[in-house]
Structure formats: structure tokens, C-alpha cells
Symmetry: C2
Subunit: 341 residues, 2 copies
DNA sequence: TATTCTCGTGTGACCGGTCACGCAACGCGC
DNA sequence: GCGCGTTGCGTGACCGGTCACACGAGAATA
């Protein structure tokens, strides 16, 4: 009795045939309407449309997917740690996907162990995704992806551009280091990201290459985990053992932790030591001191990845591929200054 | 010719009947194996399993969904801005969902305009989700969700617990303000989150209630947008016009921006003014000064939301609901001190 | 007026699973 | 020996769409 308050809870959801019956047409006609295909007489379409509205009919995607063997589903593989960059990119990917009529299914790596990666990809493939975007993946993910030879197009977004355009990542790192060198620093340390992250690797390469290009001897980079906590601890250690005037951190958070360490031992940034980060998270401009860093256009990168994937799926998107989101820009703020000694 | 390198690329994916044929059994038997249901003779099951492996057969979820009318899909509705908290919760939700055999589909609000909210929910419903989790939604989302009377269970996660347990959110804010009062502050400002966010509202209520309970007159809260940038600008303005000794910010990022403003005008935290944030993002411990804030267990909250949703779906999860993730904890660091005047 | 060509719409089969049965073979009690 | 319940597996229909094709009515053509 009390259940009758809600009207349409009668049995199952209305189907295309229910609509057809109400509109007095065949189910095929209804199908044509919901796909707004071929020439229908306007009044017929109107009849169907009003029947659809009356019944609150919603096409069943599973049935459609089954019949067409097109799932309109894109899988996203994310890292375990949801950083600002990853979250922004996923956001952008979602928007682009939805605009193109695709849905998104997401899964995150628990660890980067091969079995785990494979099981995550399986999880995605079982949903019969039509394309896969791996966001900021660990390096170990890439060979697994290759080896699997997935029957769908794959985009690997290593935080900047696709895997095929990651060179810019390195260039960004070089720009950061060059900035320090131009200020007069020679003893420059690098706190890198985790060993198995693609971007960490590229930034580290950038550091090494730029040092080398200027005949400076790089110190072996410290491998961190992207967190401020690590930056802090590594900072404490480095400041005790190393005699450097500048540090290039693999991301802003580690830079932030490092600056904390500098203060903790009674020294200051940039007077005693200069610090450069990477990413330009929105907070970096407001740190103390405001952080010199390398800006990435996360949204642009995410959108671009989706656009590329859609292209691989043969989906025509009127893209303004004019702007290349892979462009990184050095943002100079006050955490860097000429060395005092 | 060269195509024959890859063996099974022949036409479409293998179906249950292909497996049956190869294993010499009926398709129903294969179905039983992949659902490991009812009593099968072990050797029969083994035969089928090896056929499955040989064919690399993967059950078609669309077909299964169609036949069972169970999509095993959970929809997640996220805000436009991907904050640390939201990202963490979504991550946790995904893990819990996958563990329970559910998949996730995500969509983000472009704006909080009713039409936009409705269209996002439509987008989700069209995928015949079995449950919906709205993460950290704007207040306007809640009535729309109610009004829509969705035929699936809905969980609203307002950053702390479900909508029904948001009182703790207010309690957290009260604890933050009480801390300032106990230090001796009386002129305390509040930089709130956006007007239409559930959590912003609760934190503001907490501020007002605690001030009131201590016979202190609250200042009208400034409504921000959660960003450090806003905290900075609002800080510049407030420090010029107001004569306060402490500020309670609606989140850590705004607190961070505010501290920047304090320094920018040559004053310092906590000597001249104390600052409290909210969330305890991982960076907060490493800011200068380290930020006193209210810690939220984002992962716990996300997991809990999923557990509750699964319960509503009649899914038995052996949960240790003993720990209540909605517990907020004040973390006192050095951005707060007794007033100097 | 008969023929052909559209246009608009309907019919049957099918996508790949699941469900409700049906049925043979076997073990058991009497 | 018969009846009966299990166990183990197969058959047909169905979920809700789409596709290929058929078909009738009117317009265009002969």
C-alpha cells in the first residue's frame, strides 16, 4: 500500500517495445528515434518522443553494447597515490570523454607489482573497454602494457604529453636546473621521484643532462616518494652531509618538505640555499618563500590524451590541436636566488 | 600473412558457446563454471577451464548485465575541483568497490547549476548504475538528488561521513575554534568555503556555534573558494580592515594562502596572528609554520561510504565497522599560540 | 496506366550471456 | 524389482537493444 506512493516502480524498466506499444509504432521505429537516424516523419518521431517522456524510458546501455559490440567505455588506469596532477588529468579526461559520448571506468593500481598491474588491466578489459588511458604510470606498467598487446588503443600519459612526447618533461627539468646554474649555483642536488615512475626518470635525466652540459658534476639523486614528508627527511639528511647551494626537487611537495628541513636547521631559503620544484601546484605560489617551479598544464595534457585516444578510435573531434599542452614553463618565484657564498 | 602472427584475432571475441564446443560440453556448463555455481564434476570443470584459457575467453559483461539486470556498476558524482580529499575518497571507494566485485563509473560536475547536476546524474543513470555516491557535493546537489527519487541507493559523502552523520564536521570546526579560545583569543575570524558546499556550511556553523557558546561575537565569515589564492587575497583584505588575533580557515589551502598574506604585510604567524586550517592535507605539517588543523580520515570515509552502499545493495561485507572514520581530530602544530596583545 | 523509385515503417534473427526447466544415470530403501 | 531423490548436465526461451531485409504507399517516370 505505502509502496504505491511511488508510481512507476512497476516491475522492470520500460523497454523499447513498451514505448512502441504506447506510441502505436514498431520497436524499430523507436530505435530509430533514440538514434535519431534515417528519415522519419516528424509527427511519428514526436509521437514516439512523447511516449518516451511519459514512460521515462532510458535506453539500456548493456543491451546496446551487446547488440553493437561497442561499449563506449574508456578505461583509466591510475596510480595508487592520487596527486593533484593525476586528479586534474582524470578530471579533464572525463570531461572530454563525456563530450564525445564515451563513459569512463576507473581503476587504481594497488602496487606496481606486475601481477597487480595485470590484474588491474584485466579488471578493465573485462568491462570490454574500447580504449585505455594509463595516467602517470610507473615505468613497470609500460612494458606490461606493451607485452599484453591489448586489442584496444592505449594512451600512456606520463604527466606530460603522451609517452611518445615525454621529451618535454626532460626539457622542463633542464630548464629548472639551468635557471639555478645561471644564478651561479654549481653544487646542485636533486631529490628525485620514485625509481619506477616515468616522470621521475625523465626529470632525473634532465638534471643529469643539464649538469653535464655545463661541466658540473651532478650528485647522485636521492630517490623519494613524491611526499613532503620525504622531502623533509631527505632534506635533514642532505643538509647534514652535503655542501650544496641549491636543490632541484622532483615535485613541489618534496620541495616544500625540503624547505621545511632548511628552516628546521636554522637556515633559510633562498639566502642559504635555493630550491626549485616541479608541477606548480596551486599552492606553490603561496608557500614561504613562494616556490620557483616548472608549470605543467595538467588539464591540457588530460584533454589531449583523450583527444588522441578518440582519434585512434576513429572518432572525429574538431580539435584545436594548435596549442601543445606538453609545453612546460619555468615559473621563477623567490625560492631561488644567487648563491651567497 | 603477417597477421597470422597474432593467433586469435579471428573475427570477434570467443563466446561461451565457442568454449563449450572446444570443451565438448554445453554452453550452460560453461556458464556454471564461470559462475562457479552448483555441483560440477571436477574433471568437467577442468576441461572447461582449460578451454577458457586456450581461447582466452573473457565473459561479456554487457551480456551478463542484460540477462541478469544487474550491472554491478556504481556511479560516482564528483565536484568540479578535484581536491586532495575528494581524490583520496574516490580512490578508497574504487578499492572497496573492486573488492566487492563492482565497477566504478565517474562523472564530474561542470558547475553546480541544477540543470548541470541533473544532466550528470542522467549520464550516470543511463549506464544503469546500481548505486550512486556523491562525493563532497555542493548543497544544491542534495535537494536535487532527493527530488529525483532515484531508483537506486544513494550515498552522499560530505567529506566526513555520510550526510546523515555530518554533525562531526561541525564538531571538528568547534574543536578548532575552541582551541583558539582556550589559547586566549577572542577576536577570531572565519574564512569559509563556498556558500553552496555542504562541508563549508557545517564548518561555518561550527565556528558560529562555538563562538556563541563562549559569548564571543563572531565576525561574518568571508566566503571563499577553497583555494590558496583566495586565502591570500582575503587575508590581505582582512588584515587591513579587521583587528583579529586568530583565523579559522575552512580548509588548509586557504589557511596557507592566509599565512602568505600575513607575511606579505610584514607580520608573522603565530606571533601576531594564529591560524587554524581544516583537512590536514599531507603538506600541512611542513608548511611554515606547520599548520594547526583538523584531521579527516579521507580513506576511511570513502571506504565507509562504499561499505554502507554495499549494505544498502544487500551485499554482505565482513566489515569492521568498529572504527568510525567520521572522527575528526584536532592536530595542534605551531601556527597557533596565545595572543600577544 | 503500368513500372520503377524513393520514403517510411515493420519483421525476424541475432548479440552473449542467464534462467527455468527437462532428463538420464545412479544410489538407496523397501 | 519398483519407486524415489540426487547428481550432473543439456535445451529452449529470454534480457533489450540493433541489423539486414521486406514491404506498402505514393511520386516520378515511361
Amino acid at each position: 500500500m505505502s509502496d504505491t506512493d511511488i508510481p512507476e516502480t512497476t516491475g522492470r524498466a520500460p523497454s523499447i517495445r513498451d514505448v512502441a506499444r504506447l506510441a502505436g509504432v514498431s520497436y524499430q521505429t523507436v530505435s530509430r528515434v533514440i538514434n535519431n537516424s534515417s528519415a522519419l516523419r516528424p509527427e511519428t518521431a514526436a509521437k514516439v518522443r512523447s511516449a518516451i517522456a511519459e514512460l521515462k524510458f532510458v535506453p539500456n546501455q548493456a543491451a546496446r553494447a551487446l547488440a553493437t559490440s561497442r561499449s563506449k567505455l574508456i578505461g583509466v588506469l591510475g596510480p595508487r597515490t592520487p596527486t593533484h596532477g593525476v586528479a586534474s588529468m582524470v578530471q579533464a579526461i572525463e570531461s572530454a570523454a563525456r563530450a564525445a559520448g564515451y563513459r569512463l571506468t576507473i581503476t587504481n593500481l594497488a602496487t606496481s607489482a606486475p601481477d597487480d598491474v595485470r590484474s588491474s588491466i584485466d579488471h578493465l578489459m573485462q568491462q570490454s573497454i574500447e580504449g585505455l588511458i594509463a595516467v602517470a604510470p610507473q615505468t613497470r606498467v609500460v612494458p606490461i602494457l606493451d607485452e599484453l598487446k591489448l586489442p584496444v588503443p592505449v594512451q600512456i600519459v606520463a604527466s606530460t604529453g603522451t609517452a611518445t612526447s615525454h621529451n618535454d618533461q626532460t626539457a622542463g627539468a633542464r630548464a629548472a636546473v639551468r635557471h639555478l646554474i645561471e644564478l651561479g649555483h654549481t653544487r646542485i642536488l636533486h631529490i628525485a621521484g620514485p625509481r619506477d615512475w616515468v616522470e621521475a626518470d625523465h626529470r632525473m635525466r634532465g638534471y643529469l643532462a643539464e649538469m653535464d652540459a655545463n661541466d658540473l658534476s651532478p650528485r647522485p639523486p636521492v630517490l623519494g616518494d613524491w611526499t613532503a614528508q620525504f622531502g623533509f627527511e631527505a632534506g635533514l639528511e642532505l643538509l647534514r652531509t652535503e655542501d650544496a647551494t641549491a636543490v632541484f626537487a622532483g615535485n613541489d611537495h618534496m620541495a616544500l618538505g625540503f624547505m621545511h628541513a632548511v628552516r628546521a636547521i636554522g637556515r633559510s631559503v633562498p639566502e642559504d640555499i635555493s630550491v626549485v620544484g616541479f608541477d606548480d601546484v596551486p599552492e606553490s605560489a603561496h608557500l614561504w618563500p613562494p616556490l620557483t617551479t616548472v608549470r605543467q598544464d595538467f588539464v591540457g595534457i588530460g584533454t589531449r590524451a583523450m583527444t588522441d585516444l578518440l582519434a585512434a578510435l576513429g572518432e572525429a573531434t574538431e580539435e584545436d590541436s594548435s596549442s601543445d599542452p606538453a609545453q612546460l614553463r619555468l615559473i621563477v618565484r623567490s625560492s631561488t636566488a644567487p648563491p651567497s657564498r
